[in-house]
């Protein structure tokens, strides 16, 4: 493992090393190849240029030679002839500047020459010499002179040649050497001047001297040549011009050319031609042959120019190198580097991957080991008895539970047949699930209760297949189901118990139903009887009232002596009769009331009522009666309005009853106090006296029917015994409660409370009752909602009492205008609802029209300005077409839209 890791690291180092090496080699090779390509280009360019220049130089040499021939063929050459001859060359070879004829003048003939010259129009002709500054001096005496005799110049030349006629050229060492060589060898010789003479600023002025000998005289030996020399034809050309012309039309390639004369003393630079491609040709310097040899990049060749050997060295200028620079080596290098890096990266990835895989394998192996271990542990932890059987029922593997229950070791079981071990038989058990699995390759489950096993078992076998799908055996799991069996039995038992209990309940239920049916029947009968009783009371009361009224009228007439005088005794008797008739009448009224209430026929007609005022008004009516008994009645109410929705008539009845009782049962000069108190939830009214009081044991029966107690009545008729019962019923109809407190001998206090209902609830109750009523007979109901606009303003203007009165007035006006069954409710927020029974919406529209007219009329007639301008909002809704319940009815009539 470790060695492998090292190998990996080594390769990680080796690969980039080899990569870099290869990259270096390949890039170098590329460089070389590119370099040689460039060199080839350079060499070709150089060779081509060499040839062009060589041709031009060679033509110049030939030109001079042709002059020699020209001279050789004529005895003497006149200037005009010379000129004509020369002019042809100027045209063809523009590098040529001039041709000269140098005459050899021996010392002996100097005088003659100078005189002849003067005669030719050159008065000051003298043989002269020239220094480097271009100053002429008369030539010192010499054996011979070589003077410029005539000159033919190119049309390009601007030089004043006349000055130099008579100039002894041989005085200039370079020229003289060439002249000597030409004379002695009989061949043209060249002199290239790097120094300037004659005031000519010509770089690389090159002169080819061709010797001309005297016609007809021999010039075979050196002496003869020296002796018979007559002069030289000189051709002047400019090397720069020549090179320029030669290379004209060839695109610049960046080749510098250096011309060297291979002089015996050493190389001498004749001319340096910097490539026009150079950015700064002036600064360029020529490459010496030595330097050239050192540098690998040059090309040179040698050229025979007249008698001299010139070496031309071609070297590339920096611009050439730049131009021909190849990026290929760099590209190669870069690519190599990139590939190496890529390879490294890839390799690293592979290594990483390898590591990961290695780790994964390790982890998987561990997992597998663990899984195997876990499997074994699990296998052994299974509380069921598991073994794995092969096709011949031989036990292959067995778990710990089974070994434990058999109290044996694995060695004693594994390898033996299961039926031998388990059932102690020599053939498989009859319905052995393993055998079934062997037959059909399917899982089987059997309950096995072999007494030999001692336990009831649930045995499942599942087939085990090899990878080819062949059955090789089965997994055999036996579960101890003794606990389950027990639970099962318990369950069966419990189930039975439960069934019995359910049966019992069902039967009890049936029984209750039967009894309830019976009860219901009885109840119906009772109701019927009750109804009969109510009907009876009502009929009887009505039937009794008429004769009583007649009797009362009759007795009154007699008592008032309308029928004639009566005796006092008769009077007293009749008084008694009269009182008892009254009592009977009251009794009948009370009976009627109570029967109505008990029959549920009494419906409250709630209106918004000021409780304080109601109590005050009612109590005040009793002041006279009280005065008769010298009793005092104190009425204690609040100043504020105590608005309640109550049935005024019914509550007045209650109050009257309590007050009459109080007056009746309070002795003379007694005190009676009527008090009203209210809070936000309820109102309480109490009537108390300081009369006889009621004995404690009688208190519970005070509100019972036909109850009378031994109270000392202050004379007058006896009560009916129904009054308080009626009071109780009426208060309870208002959802209130009534109670009595009394201390026997010192006084009694009756008090009742009424819950305050908010107007909305009252509205709803009214509507609900209305709906109930019409729903019973499948009829319609319409609801009109009227709301006083700007009610706050009206209330402010009128004050609460006046507003209340106005509302009640309006209600009254409406009620008077209605000709059908209706219920009106007004609320102290300025809203009024009219419930129209058995009325459709269309009919309600008519009713509303009438109500509107009546109200307008009523309001206009008011003296109060605030009332006059009162306006209403109306809305109608109908049951059951538009709304199904009280809320919908109200919302609809009020125009509330629920989204």
């Amino acid at each position: 493992m470790i060695r492998e890791k090292k190998g990996i690291h080594l390769s990680l180092l080796l690969v980039p090393a080899v990569g870099l090496l290869l990259t270096a080699i390949v890039s170098f090779k590329t460089y070389q190849s590119e370099h040689s390509k460039v060199q080839t280009v350079f060499n070709e360019a150089s060779a081509y240029r060499f040839k062009q220049i060589e041709d031009a130089i060679q033509s110049s040499v030939w030109t001079v030679e042709s002059f020699s021939s020209f001279y050789a063929s004529s005895s003497s050459v006149e200037q005009s002839e010379f000129n004509i001859f020369a002019q042809g060359y100027f045209r063809r070879q523009p590098q040529i500047f001039e041709f000269r004829w140098l005459r050899r003048v021996p010392e002996s003939k100097r005088q003659e020459y100078e005189t002849a010259g003067r005669a030719l129009g050159l008065p000051d002709l003298k043989i002269k010499e020239i220094d480097k500054a271009g100053n002429f001096t008369p030539a010192p005496q010499k054996q011979e002179y070589f003077v410029v005799d005539f000159i033919s110049t190119s049309p390009n030349s601007k030089y004043d040649y006349k000055r130099i006629f008579g100039l002894d050229i041989s005085s200039i060492p370079e020229r003289w050497q060439a002249m000597e060589r030409a004379r002695d060898t009989e061949e043209p010789a060249i002199a290239v001047e790097t120094e300037h003479y004659e005031g000519l600023d010509i770089p690389s002025a090159s002169r080819i001297f061709a010797p001309i000998y005297i016609n007809g005289l021999p010039h075979n030996t050196l002496e003869e040549r020296r002796e018979n020399l007559t002069g030289f034809v000189v051709l002047l050309f400019r090397l720069d011009e020549l090179v320029g012309i030669s290379l004209k039309g060839i695109p610049a390639a960046g080749v510098d050319i250096a011309f060297y004369d291979s002089a015996p003393a050493g190389e001498r630079l004749l001319y340096f031609y910097p490539s026009p491609m150079r950015r700064n040709p002036v600064a360029a310097e020529a490459l010496s042959p030595k330097e050239a040899k050192k540098s690998s990049f040059y090309w040179s060749n040698t050229l025979q120019v007249a008698d001299r050997k010139w070496t031309m060295i071609f070297s590339p200028c920096p611009e050439f190198l730049i131009k021909n620079r190849s990026i290929l080596p760099w590209v190669t290098f870069g690519t190599g580097l990139f590939l190496t890096l890529l390879l490294m990266f890839y390799l690293r990835n592979i290594i990483e991957r390898g590591k990961q895989v290695e780790l994964l394998v390790k982890r998987r192996t561990e997992e597998l080991d663990r899984a195997n271990q876990e499997w074994l542990e699990t296998f052994n932890a299974i509380s069921d008895f598991v073994f794995i059987l092969d096709k011949d029922s031989v036990i292959i593997k067995v778990n710990k539970s089974l070994l434990d229950v058999l109290k044996t070791g694995e060695r004693d079981i594994v390898g033996r047949k299961c039926f031998e071990v388990m059932h102690k038989k020599d053939s498989p058990w009859l319905s052995c699930p393993h055998q079934q699995t062997l037959k059909d390759n399917k899982a089987h489950t059997e309950e096995v209760s072999d007494p030999g096993l001692g336990l009831p078992l649930l045995v499942s076998t599942s087939p085990v297949f090899d990878e080819r799908g062949e059955l090789v055996g089965s997994v055999h799991i036996a579960k101890d189901i003794s606990a389950i069996k027990k639970t099962e039995n318990d369950l069966i038992k419990t189930k039975g118990e439960l069934e019995i209990e359910a049966w019992g309940l069902a039967k009890a239920n049936e029984g209750i139903k039967a009894l309830y049916g019976e009860l219901e029947q009885k109840n119906q009968e009772l109701k019927k009887i009750d109804q009969l009783k109510s009907d009876f009371v009502s009929i009887v009361s009505h039937e009794l009232r008429t004769p009583l009224a007649i009797m009362k009228e009759g007795v009154s007439l007699v008592l008032d002596k309308v029928t004639g005088e009566i005796t006092p005794k008769t009077g007293t008797t009749l008084e008694m009769v009269y009182n008892n008739i009254n009592r009977l009448a009251k009794l009948i009224n009370d009976l009627l009331d109570i029967s109505k209430i008990e029959a549920g026929k009494l419906q409250l007609k709630r209106t918004l009522t000021d409780m304080n005022r109601l109590v005050r008004d009612t109590a005040e009516k009793w002041l006279i009666s009280a005065k008769k008994k010298d009793q005092e009645i104190s009425i204690i109410t609040g100043d504020e309005r105590l608005n309640l929705y109550i049935d005024q008539d019914k509550l007045i009845q209650v109050l009257n009853n309590l007050l009459s009782n109080a007056i009746k049962f309070t002795p003379e000069k007694g005190r009676i106090t009527v008090q009203v108190r209210g809070d936000k939830d309820e109102a309480e009214v109490s009537v108390s006296d300081n009369g006889a009081g009621i004995p404690g044991e009688d208190l519970p029966r005070v509100f019972g029917k036909f109850q009378q107690f031994d109270r000392t009545a202050g004379g007058g008729a006896k009560g009916t015994g129904l009054g308080l019962a009626i009071c109780k019923e009426l208060v309870e109809l208002h959802e209130g409660s009534i109670k009595v407190e009394s201390i026997f001998g010192s006084g009694t206090k009756f008090s009742f409370t009424l819950p305050k209902k908010d107007s909305e609830t009252v509205f709803k109750e009214h509507i609900v009752e209305g709906i109930k009523e019409v729903a019973d007979r499948n009829s319609n109901l319409a609801l009109i909602s009227m709301r006083i606009l700007d009610f706050g303003r009206l209330q402010k203007a009128l004050g609460p009492d006046m507003t209340h009165s106005l509302l009640q007035e309006i209600e009254k006006v409406i009620n008077e205008s209605l000709r059908r069954k209706a219920d009106t409710v007004v609320r102290d927020t300025g809203e009024l609802i009219v419930i129209l029974f058995d009325t459709t919406k269309d009919q309600a529209q008519f009713v509303l029209g009438r109500i509107d007219a009546v109200i307008r009329n009523f309001l206009i007639n008011s003296r109060d300005e605030a009332v006059k301008i009162t306006a209403f909002n109306y809305g109608i809704s109908s049951y059951p077409n538009e709304a199904k319940n009280e809320l919908e009815l109200l919302d609809k009539a009020r125009g509330v839209i629920h989204v």
Binding site: W503, G504, K507, A508, G511, A514, G517
Partner: protein
């Protein structure tokens, strides 16, 4: 042949009423006034059905039921336990005692008659 019913009921009024009602339905009725008498009659006379009032002067009606059922085992007649007071606990007890049905006494005895019709 008329189906035979034994009624074990101590209240004479009830017994009369029930007897008449069942006779009018076409059953032959015998009446026993107490538990001991009822048991004796029940085991000897091959009744198809025995109606037992739970409350008897001598033995608990359910006890009689249990005795009959255990004595006659498979040949036992059907038994209806009769009660004046409905109680689920009694119903369960009746079932445990082997009663086949449990009926409440009503004035019309309709539920009893229905039960009888159901069982025989």
């Amino acid at each position: 042949m008329l189906k035979k019913i034994l009624l074990i009921e101590d209240s004479i009024a009830s017994a009369d009423f029930i007897s008449k009602a069942l006779e009018s339905e076409g059953y032959e009725i015998s009446v026993a006034k107490n538990g001991a008498d009822g048991f004796q009659k029940a085991i000897g006379n091959g009744f198809d059905l025995v109606i037992i009032d739970i409350v008897l002067p001598d033995i608990n009606g359910l006890e009689v039921c249990r005795e009959i059922k255990s004595k006659l085992a498979k040949n036992s007649p059907k038994v209806i336990a009769l009660t004046g007071i409905v109680d689920a606990i009694d119903a369960v007890a009746a079932r445990r005692a082997g009663a086949d049905d449990f009926c409440v006494k009503t004035k019309d005895m309709l539920s009893l008659i229905e039960a009888v019709k159901k069982h025989i």
